[in-house]
């Protein structure tokens, strides 16, 4: 009963507030209509009135126009994915998808009937290049078509795992003839996984947060396996094969970054300019702790400068860097050049503020990480720069808590 009364009062106050805000009634009229709620209404009106008077700082039209230009530059093209308008487009797409999936089911069923259900079952162990491999991917598609988003996400993760297991099997046999099919399949599933995660993120951040750690663990396991295989075959395999596997590893890294940082890749990935020398020994990293790496590897703060309109960041390492390095900001890769201990990265187009990671090109190991602000000042991991003075504040709350949780820990 009490709750009913409360609900009724809540409704009256809400309606009065809306009526006053929209100028349909005056405060006095409401007070006259509901004298028993006078005090409640007075508080509501006062709070409403005063809070309405608070205004946000004004943005100048120039600043807004600047921000708009920046945004427009960053927006990915979507012309191809969404084309001819039709009011029934989405419905039609769903129907098409459903029919496509139905077709897959029909084909799978026919295969099962003709060859026995054993064929579908046997396809579980099929490898790229095998006759039953397409059946295996069809079955995966069928599973995806029948499940909701959250389950789909787990399936995508599972299917990337399938591709990695297939890679292990191919590596055991030393048979890499169909590596393109495998890497392409991995990239496809990983891309769909990242996109689906972004969709879940937009709709339900809580759910996304729950899924993120689990995904990261699984993807890390996959990265270790791929790295292990790259290492094992590095002396015997030809360069194109190594490149394909490195591409697969890079897809894994990108996917993890996209999932962890919740950043959408908005354009094509820029390939690093350095040509990796596969025979080079990766830089020895004494620990996975980025803070330790930062303190021991980069001698001073990066220098930021403009060169022919390009935004360059220059890092001076404590030792000569002999291997390829690339920079990553917000899920995008940027090329870096190396001159002895000096690494110069072209970061044109990066957002004003963000986290910058430097990776070893061969192994994707994290070399260095920092938060940057090329509009204002640098905020270093483990080091806080203020007014040009570098203060060591290791372990302090300002030392970049969580800024190295982008999935590179324990990657070796």
């Amino acid at each position: 009963m009490k709750s009913m009364i409360e609900k009724k009062k809540a409704k009256i106050i809400n309606e009065c507030l809306d009526a006053v805000i929209q100028d349909r009634h005056s405060e006095e009229e409401c007070l006259r209509l509901f004298p028993e709620l006078k005090q409640d209404l007075l508080v509501a009106f006062t709070v409403s009135r005063y809070l309405h008077n608070i205004q946000a700082p004004q943005i100048t039209p120039q600043r807004m126009s600047q921000m708009k230009d920046h945004l427009m530059f960053k927006l990915a093209d979507r012309g191809n994915s969404v084309t001819n308008f039709s009011p029934f487009r989405y419905r039609w797409q769903n129907i098409k998808r459903r029919f496509a999936m139905t077709w897959v089911i029909i084909v799978s069923t026919i295969i099962s009937l003709i060859s026995g259900a054993g064929v579908v079952y046997a396809s579980n162990t099929a490898l790229p290049g095998d006759m039953l491999f397409p059946v295996k991917t069809w079955v995966e598609d069928v599973q995806l078509s029948l499940s909701p988003d959250v389950v789909d996400l787990k399936l995508y993760e599972e299917f990337t795992g399938h591709r990695v297991k297939e890679l292990v099997a191919l590596a055991d046999m030393g048979k890499f003839d169909n590596i393109d099919e495998l890497v392409g399949g991995y990239q496809n599933r990983a891309e769909l996984l990242a996109r689906l995660m972004a969709k879940i993120e937009a709709k339900n951040p809580d759910e996304a947060a729950k899924l993120r750690n689990e995904l990261e663990t699984k993807l890390q396991e996959q990265a270790r396996i791929i790295e292990g295989i790259i290492e094992n075959i590095s002396e015997t395999a030809d360069l194109p094969l190594q490149d394909r596997l490195r591409e697969m590893l890079q897809t894994n890294t990108q996917t993890r970054l996209r999932i962890q940082d919740k950043v959408m890749v908005l354009g094509p990935v820029v390939e690093p300019v350095e040509t990796p020398d596969v025979n080079e020994t990766p830089e020895v990293l004494p620990t996975d702790d980025a803070q330790y790496q930062n303190q021991n590897r980069v001698r001073n703060n990066p220098v930021e400068y403009l060169e022919d309109g390009a935004l360059k960041f220059q890092f001076r390492f404590s030792q000569v860097i002999e291997t390829g390095v690339y920079a990553e900001v917000a899920g995008m890769n940027y090329p870096c050049s190396i001159d002895g201990a000096v690494v110069t990265c072209d970061l044109t187009g990066v957002p004003g503020v963000g986290k910058l990671n430097l990776y070893h090109l061969n192994s994707n190991l994290l070399l260095y990480s920092c938060d940057y602000d090329h509009n204002y000042e640098y905020l270093w991991e483990g080091t806080k720069e203020s007014g040009g003075t570098e203060n060591q504040e290791q372990g302090s709350p300002d030392s970049g808590e969580g800024s190295h949780d982008n999935g590179q820990n324990g990657k070796k």
Binding site: Q39, T46, A208
Partner: protein, 191 residues
Amino acid sequence: MKIRMQDADLSNDEPRIIQKAIEGEKQAFGLLYEKYFNAILRYLFFKLSSLEEAEDMTENVFIKAWESLPSFNQFEKGLNFRAWIYRIAHNTLVDFHRAHKKDLSIDAIGELPASTIKPEKANEQRETVIEITRAIRQLDEISIQIIMNRFIAGMDHKETALIMGLSEGNVRLIQFRALKKLKEILGEIND
């Protein structure tokens, strides 16, 4: 046929402009950006208390909106564009605060800079605003969000409910209880 953006009247033609943006026309999306930029910035500013952060997050919100636009009609039945983009802003904000382990909005509302009060009303109102915002800080997080959405962002209770994933009745009730608590904190108000 491409829409001539210079001729587009956003207030009357918003559904068509949204549709063009869904189809990938950045120019159309630019019009939506211009219309909703200030509202989203204001909404975020009062929950972040930093203009720079609010600007960055506003950009992220519009990028997410652009990426998610193709699913706007399909999955977001019952939401108008304004409520939809506010919801993206809300989700982005929740995520940001979770990542930075901050309490949503409490710092922001309690330390409003004097510049945020309209100059002509500054003297007479500043004290009251500060008193009210201090009182609001004593509320729980959901109540603060509802009060801010309703009275600072200027959303109606339906939009607030949609954005926060609550029922309208719930929003009304939480708002009522929050106002009741504010009444206790602020004491009796004379008309």
